[in-house]
């Protein structure tokens, strides 16, 4: 084989791998992306039950209740609209009423958000970026200072 042919072959191999990778990415992107919504978004956009989404907002004061076993319920609010959430399992250490929270799961037919993940964070000053942005947009939350 000449140098040119060899080069062509390497190029083809490279393109083939790239094509496979691109195919995988497109396929995976189709079903495995989770959109982030605030309670207002959910009421406005009428998200169909069963769609996997992230719900973010503040845990409403006085809404946190422990149920049977490891089940907990609370309400997520962006101060305009609220969504009730139920979750089975242990909450992250920094979960508190009045604090920001991001949960992942799906709405059921009654409008209850069934979460299977409640996002933890490492730092009490930390506010998830998507949450901070949307709360700022609605004028509910201002850039906090370190205490």
């Amino acid at each position: 084989m000449t140098r040119k042919q060899k080069r062509l072959m390497m190029l083809c191999a490279g393109l083939a791998v790239l094509a496979v990778a691109a195919g995988l990415v497109l396929y995976a992107m189709r079903d495995n992306i989770v959109f982030f919504y605030t309670p207002s978004d959910i009421t406005e956009k009428a998200i169909p039950p069963g769609t996997r989404i992230r719900l973010g907002g503040l845990v409403e004061q006085g809404s946190f209740k422990k149920g049977e076993g490891a089940v907990v319920t609370f309400t997520v609010t962006d101060t305009l609209k609220t969504i009730p959430v139920t979750y089975t399992g242990q909450l992250p250490d920094l979960f508190r009423e009045g604090q920001g929270v991001v949960t992942e799961g799906a709405l059921d037919a009654t409008g209850l958000f069934v979460a299977d993940t409640v996002l933890a964070k490492h730092d009490e000053n930390y506010m998830p970026k998507e949450l901070a942005d949307s709360l700022k947009e609605k004028g509910v939350w201002n850039e906090g200072k370190k205490p």
Binding site: M1, R3, K6, M9, M10, A13, G14, V17, L18, V20, A21, L24, V25, Y27, A28, M29, D31, N32, I33, V34, F35, F36, R54, K65, K66, G67, G69, A70, T88, G89, Q90, L91, D93, L94, V102, L119, A120, K121, H122, D123, E124, N125, Y126, P128, K129, E130, D133, S134, K146, P147
Partner: protein, 660 residues
């Protein structure tokens, strides 16, 4: 006073790095030896000055000098000494100082040990290294000064984030940074080679050990982070495909590719342009990792409070270096001389496939990490890309790569025959097949692919062992001769086999824990028993404990299998002073076959019991054991006499053949 000394030292280091960036570069351009020689002392001076600054900050932390803002914000006098020291880099400003310290240390190492480098190349390498240092020192002096004073000085500090008060995390950042920053050497060598317009085997012989060193640190750093997340965060997981984790995985993948392509440059003088590009991209991904983690553009479970102004500064550094290096590459790379020829089926060909797959895998991780940012910037919605995406893209690309790993070393350089190579692997293939059958027989409950993935791990392990066995010619010559040959094998050969074996061990661990983990969430009262994976977990009692800077509620559990008592373990909920921040300490019991992982939760509604989450994580430790084996493989390779920097420019013919 000490803080001002540190501040002053940083400014002097800035001046030294400016000198280091400009003078040797000009010297190399006009071929003035005196000016080129200025590089080494400047690099050493820069290192010593930053070391002084870092020591000053450490001193402030050790003595709990709360008149320094950074110490006040991140330390507390009641903290154990280890965490006072690790607190130095447990915050933004301090971690950036550690970053430039390691950067300067690598530069100083090239200055000190690079005496046999061609003077012009050495001058240019140190100059580029100086530029990177200059950028980050400028960053520290302008927007990220750790030595700011606080007046009046508070009596007590605000404390370090308690989840960071952990031995594994105390050492995780230095290792990770050593890995990130170590890649700067490969970057500097690449840029210097582009300026010079020359890449040869000697160049690759220099780049390889430095890349290997960086890769080893990165491997261990990522592994420690994963281990920490596993037992400290209390979720029982070891990898979350979180953007911050991806930010460290991408440079690791690129460095792994670079490590392999540099072999081709050294041994066969081919793939030169690609290797240069890879060296630039590896460090670019490191810089991008620093930017992503430090700028706050990401939504991450690991994110800490951040400052957007700093993010912008790092973004500018990022653009200057990546853009500059890539422009230089575009201008100069076509002028580089073509290298040696090789057939597609050859050792070189196998290494090209390795590089293609690793590069494609890096790209999929990059897309998954950046896509949400791009969408957000375009105002097209806020999304998150989670583990399913990465499992569907990254894993399918890794499988062919891992399948080919044992085959590569069996192929000869330049042109190879596939059948002899396959023949030499029949033993490894049989072992893999047997493993698959046995795993299937004992574990038929899990997903069907799991036994195959376990077999893949066995294939990697057996392939590495048979590679060594065949080099020593076991089964061909008498055992005594074979052992003698084994002793004579270069460290590099063992290093490679060990590193590949480590990958196999890790694959088995990852497969087992992903396919066969069990999880139970329930509520318990003292005396209750919970069954998990054939074990009985009894909740004995709970009590309150006082730690040095926290109060803990501790649950005591007993583990039994049948009537046999295995042991007791404790899980705690700690509440740290002074921030009143709670953390969870998981209770772990390690068996040879896996971990029992117990997390005691909050009190139940009626106050009599506790929520309890328990996992059985089969073979989970193999993951970290695998990474440690990979690290040791790198160490063995690095210790190889022929590989050591500064030994013969041309290795003896016999030695070359032994590695071929």
């Amino acid at each position: 006073m000490i803080a001002e000394l540190g501040h002053f030292a940083v400014i002097l280091a800035l001046a030294a790095s400016l000198w280091q960036s400009l003078v040797p570069l000009y010297g190399a351009h006009v071929n003035d030896t005196r000016l080129m020689r200025a590089a080494s002392p400047a690099a050493l001076a820069q290192f010593l000055l930053i070391l002084l600054a870092f020591s000053a900050l450490t001193w402030n932390y050790v003595t709990s000098d709360f008149s320094v803002l950074n110490v006040y914000e991140n330390s507390h006098s009641a903290k154990p000494m280890l965490y006072k020291i690790s607190g130095v880099w447990g915050n933004h400003e301090g971690s950036m100082l550690l970053w430039v310290l390691i950067l300067a240390a690598f530069g100083a190492a090239v200055a000190a040990f690079g005496n046999n480098l061609p003077p012009a190349l050495k001058a240019r390498v140190l100059s580029v290294q100086g530029m990177v240092g200059l950028a980050f020192l400028l960053f520290i002096v302008t927007v990220s000064n750790p030595f700011l004073r606080l007046d009046p000085a508070p009596i007590e500090g605000a404390g370090l984030n308690p989840v960071l008060q952990d031995p594994a995390l105390a050492f995780h950042p230095p290792f990770l940074y050593a890995g990130y920053v170590g890649l700067s050497i490969a970057f500097s060598f690449a840029v210097a080679a582009l300026i010079e317009g020359k890449v040869d085997a000697a160049w690759a012989r220099w780049v390889r050990p430095w890349t290997l060193l960086a890769w080893m640190f990165l491997t261990l750093g990522i592994s420690m982070g994963s281990w920490w997340a596993y037992y400290e965060l209390g979720w029982g997981g070891w990898w979350f495909w979180d953007p911050v984790e991806n930010a460290s995985l991408m440079p690791w993948l690129a460095a792994t590719a670079l490590l392999h392509s540099a072999i081709v440059v050294e041994k066969r003088n081919a793939l030169k342009i690609w290797t240069i590009l890879l060296a630039i991209l590896s460090f670019s991904l490191s810089l991008m990792g620093a930017f992503l983690v430090r700028s706050g553009v990401l939504t991450s479970v690991h994110a800490f409070a951040v400052d957007p102004q700093r993010g912008l500064f790092i973004l500018v550094i990022l653009m200057v270096f990546i853009g500059g290096a890539l422009s230089l590459f575009a201008l100069r790379a076509p002028a580089l001389k073509q290298g040696g020829l090789f057939a597609p089926l050859s050792r070189e060909g196998a290494l090209v496939v390795n590089n293609l797959l690793l590069a494609a895998a890096t790209a999929t991780v990059l897309i998954g990490t950046l896509y949400p940012l791009v969408l957000d910037a375009l105002n097209a919605g806020k999304i998150s890309v989670g583990p399913p995406y990465f499992n569907l893209t990254f894993v399918p690309l890794m499988i062919p790569l891992l399948l080919l790993v044992p085959l590569g070393p069996m192929l000869s350089w330049k042109r190879a025959d596939i059948y002899p190579a396959m023949q030499r692997l029949w033993a490894a293939a049989s072992i893999a097949l047997l493993t698959a059958i046995l795993t299937f027989a004992f574990h038929f409950k899990g997903p069907w692919a799991a036994p195959l993935a376990i077999a893949l791990g066995a294939w990697l392990i057996a392939g590495s062992l048979s590679e060594i066995a065949q080099r020593a010619q076991f089964f061909k010559v008498s055992p005594a001769t074979a052992f003698a040959r084994l002793k004579g094998l270069p460290g590099q050969a063992f290093g490679m086999a060990l590193a590949h074996l480590g990958v196999g061990v890790m694959v088995i661990g990852i497969t087992a824990v992903s396919a066969w983990r069990t999880e139970i969430i329930t509520t318990v009262k003292p005396g209750d028993k919970v069954e998990i994976s054939g074990m009985t977990l009894t909740f004995l009692s709970e009590r309150t404990l006082e730690g040095p800077n926290f109060t803990a509620e501790q649950g005591l559990f007993r583990v039994t299998i049948g009537d046999r008592e295995i042991g007791e373990l404790t899980s705690e909920k700690r509440n740290f002073r002074p921030a009143s921040m709670p953390t969870t300490e998981a209770g772990l019991h390690a068996f040879w076959s896996g971990d029992l992982y117990v997390v005691m939760g909050d009190k139940t509604a009626d106050g009599t019991g506790r929520t309890l989450r328990a996992y059985y994580n089969p073979m989970v430790r193999w993951i970290w054991i695998g990474t440690v084996i990979m690290f040791l493989g790198g160490l063995l390779s690095l210790a190889d006499r022929r590989y050591r920097v500064g030994v013969p420019k041309t290795a003896p013919r016999a030695a070359l053949e032994a590695t071929a």
